[in-house]
Amino acid sequence: MHKITCPYCGERSEEEFKYAGPSHLERPIPASEVTDSQWAEYLFMRDNIKGISLERWGHIHGCSQYFNLIRNTVTHEIYGCYQMGEQPPEGWQKLGDKK
């Protein structure tokens, strides 16, 4: 079983958290001018990355806060987290490389 570090509560069991979709999806605007295919891209099309991925997670059975997690979808390794509204730390794509 995994431990995930909530930026507010610290290390907790993974069962307390909920995956809430990929990070940094930008809603297209203005709504009146958004085409069907742009909506489809935003709402449904996914990178579904095999490897290091930037994800939103919520500590729903804890403090209820949402944050971003940098996670490897193959190894389930977690490299770190950052706040909502922030950009990922530079060089995040290389976080999995062995030092």
């Binding site: 993974e14 069962e15 489809a40 449904f44 996914r46 579904n48 990355i49």
Partner: protein, 416 residues
């Protein structure tokens, strides 16, 4: 192809079983094919078979990264059924079940179909009403379904917890008598053997690593064993659909998740039917070897690790023990997971992609084993004619733009 029959069995027994032919060839990859199918799971192999059989297209390669059926096809809990809510799904999945009913004879390969019913338990008054609605929908779609009382369930599924004090009391259940199980690798091998017999090249241990364009507009499929030219390409890679789509330059509305299952030590036969409890979040059947086959819902987050989480397994086992208390002391023998391709409306995507002459079959998520004959049949039609098949018109990628979803989550209730 060496015909399998009781006589060939007897003949080979006399020769100490040393004279059986290989079920399919392992030819080298040619430089060019009319159609390259990526993925040697059930859907890829069935597509190849129906291309050859129905459309006389035999210049075909199936390219598989690992071994045949080593993806979800060989990891699934083998339930077949067609108890869907919407007409589009009912037609598609019932066509599939009908193909299963003739498959062993058609392929000359025993896929061990056992139609002993698929029973979905109702644990509350609300659930009873939903099940009755589903039964009505199925009848209107021409699919078999029946309501069973508590007493009938005791008869059909001995061992279910019918105690008044049960956490999930049993109010009755919905049964699809034609539902049941079939042997997973038998389906993959049967299609592989029959496709090979018609000239299809099956290439194993050969991952596709990229796509390029040839000067004449054909696809160049880059693989571990060299680059192949193909007029048409079909992606049948389930949980890896997004990875292959990215190589080809488009995206899909798919999220890859782990789905787990486990089996117990072998027991004497005690149940024929597949029993499903949406409330406990589990389903059970007993294999021909006697193992109790158990499955539940998806793991909690996207994953490409064919492993599965411990607490999801714990939930499955806890649910099983609620429904079948007598399995309490039985030992688990194996646990595993497959990476399934989850789509927003729990319906498959079959047909065209944004790339010309490239087609896709994906999005079956937790329930595409039962759909292998129909998925292969309809995709072969689309590859051959460049038109959607009548059965899959509603299952194209374009529904994510039009919003014409076929939301089967409510109908199925649980992954299987």
């Amino acid at each position: 192809m060496q015909h399998y029959s009781v006589f060939s069995l007897a003949r080979n027994a006399m020769k100490h079983h040393e004279d059986w032919h290989k079920a399919w060839r392992s030819p080298p990859l040619k430089e060019e094919y009319e159609v390259v199918i990526v993925g040697g799971g059930g859907h890829g192999l069935a597509t190849a078979y129906y291309l050859a059989k129905e459309h006389n297209i035999t210049d075909v390669a199936v390219i598989e990264a690992g071994w045949l059926g080593g993806g979800n096809t060989g990891r699934n809990t083998i339930t077949v059924r067609s108890n869907y809510l919407y007409p589009e799904s009912a037609e598609f999945y019932d066509f599939s079940l009908k193909q299963y009913e003739i498959l062993s004879r058609e392929l000359n390969f025993n896929v061990m179909l056992r139609q002993a019913g698929l029973l979905r338990l109702s644990h509350s008054h609300h659930d009873v009403e939903m099940s009755r609605r589903a039964i009505n929908a199925m009848h209107m779609n021409g699919v078999d379904a029946e309501w069973l009382t508590r007493e009938e369930i005791i008869e059909l599924a001995p061992g279910v917890n019918v105690s008044e004090e049960a956490r999930f009391p049993i109010f009755g259940g919905m049964n699809q008598p034609r539902g049941g199980v079939a042997r997973h690798d038998g389906v993959a091998w049967g299609y592989a053997r029959a496709a090979d017999d018609r000239g299809v090249d099956i290439i194993q241990q050969c991952a596709v690593t990229g796509f390029e364009k040839a000067a004449d507009g054909s696809h160049l499929v880059v693989t571990q064993k060299g680059t192949v030219k193909a007029k048409k390409v079909a992606l049948c890679v389930a949980g890896h659909s997004s990875v292959l789509a990215e190589m080809a330059g488009f995206r899909l509305p798919v999220t890859s998740m782990a789905l787990q299952a486990c089996v117990s030590e072998p027991l004497k036969p005690f149940i024929d039917t597949v029993v499903l409890s949406p409330d406990a979040g589990v389903y059970v059947s007993q294999s021909d070897k006697g193992e109790v086959v158990m499955g539940g819902g998806l793991d909690l987050y996207p994953s490409y690790a064919q492993r599965g989480n411990v607490h999801t397994l714990e939930n499955i086992v806890a649910g099983i023990v609620e429904i079948f208390p007598k399995l309490r002391r039985v030992k688990l023998m194996r646990q595993w997971a497959g990476i399934v391709d989850i789509v927003y409306d729990s319906s498959p995507i079959i047909g065209h992609t944004p790339v010309k002459n490239m087609y896709v079959n994906c999005g079956f998520g937790t329930g595409g084993f039962k759909a292998i004959p129909a998925g292969g049949y309809t995709l072969a039609h689309t590859i051959a004619t460049d038109q959607p098949h009548k059965l899959t018109e509603a299952f194209g990628l374009n529904r994510f733009e039009t919003g014409a979803f076929i939301d089967e989550m409510g109908a199925a209730g649980i992954a299987h």
